[in-house]
């Protein structure tokens, strides 16, 4: 999936784009219990690492730039303005990322505000994440 998974990454954090426009994107990731990181996070109680939710938002952003903005630019993460984890994810859960992206083309900056959910009949909030990127050539 383009630049998002061509970079070094601890996991493939996006399975599928569900919706995309030039301002927003929704992706999902099914969290399988046989992912190798669960061996060590943690040995007797597997919990999806919180930073991997941030990675999911990052890979979602990479897809937004190439598929939504249709730009051949590399989004370089410059700031985590705020990250708030609300509830954990475990094997068998499905992570849904809803990201709203504001592109300041003059400054080459992209601001991303993401609501992350556990996908269920009624989605459960997992995290709120605000990131800031520079779009590099």
């Amino acid at each position: 999936m383009s630049d998002a998974t061509a970079c070094a990454a601890p996991l493939i954090a996006v399975d599928q784009i569900v919706e995309i426009s030039d301002r927003a994107i929704r992706t999902i990731k099914a969290i399988a219990g046989n992912e190798s990181f669960f061996l060590g996070h943690y040995p007797h109680f597997p919990i999806f690492p919180g930073v991997f939710v941030v990675e999911a938002v990052h890979q979602t952003t990479c897809l937004f730039v190439s598929e939504g903005l249709k730009l051949a630019r590399h989004p370089q993460l410059r700031r985590m303005d705020s990250v708030r984890f609300v509830s954990p994810l475990r094997p068998g859960d499905v992570l849904q990322v809803d990201a709203t992206c504001t592109h300041e083309s003059a400054a080459g900056e992209l601001r991303v505000a993401a609501q992350c959910w556990r996908r269920e009949m009624t989605p459960v909030a997992v995290a709120q994440i605000k990131l800031r990127y520079i779009l590099e050539h």
Partner: protein, 156 residues
Amino acid sequence: MSLFSYADIQSMLPHRYPMLMIDAVLALEPRHSIIAVKCVTGNEPCYARLPEEPTERQVAYPRCLIVESFSQAGVILWKQSASPDEADNVLMFGVARDCEFERDVFPGDTMQHRVNLERALGDSLFLSGETWVGDHRIARFGWLAAVTRPVSAMAR
């Protein structure tokens, strides 16, 4: 020279391979600060899926793992600062604010995390700090907030 053996580090962190991301502790002042080290190598799982001829940018160490490693240094600082009755608890990171990345990290680099314990209040604590490679600052962490929970609370 590390203040703790790798076995000691494993006894302080619940994380294990491939998620244990501290290799050594260089300095420690309980209830105040820690300097801990993570060596980045090209045989880590994050490099498993690179294209055959990756660009330099594609080889940059994932920034989410810099945050994870920094946080684990914070866990060791807390373990060395906590009272014995809290020692079996797990630390859960809840909030991060105003964290800035200045440079990339590559295989062969040794990250040095300099973590300060800003405040501990009940079951909450607040950390700040910086990550360096050699003379270069890689990241600044404005503040991270974490809460401690008994291991039993982690079961679903």
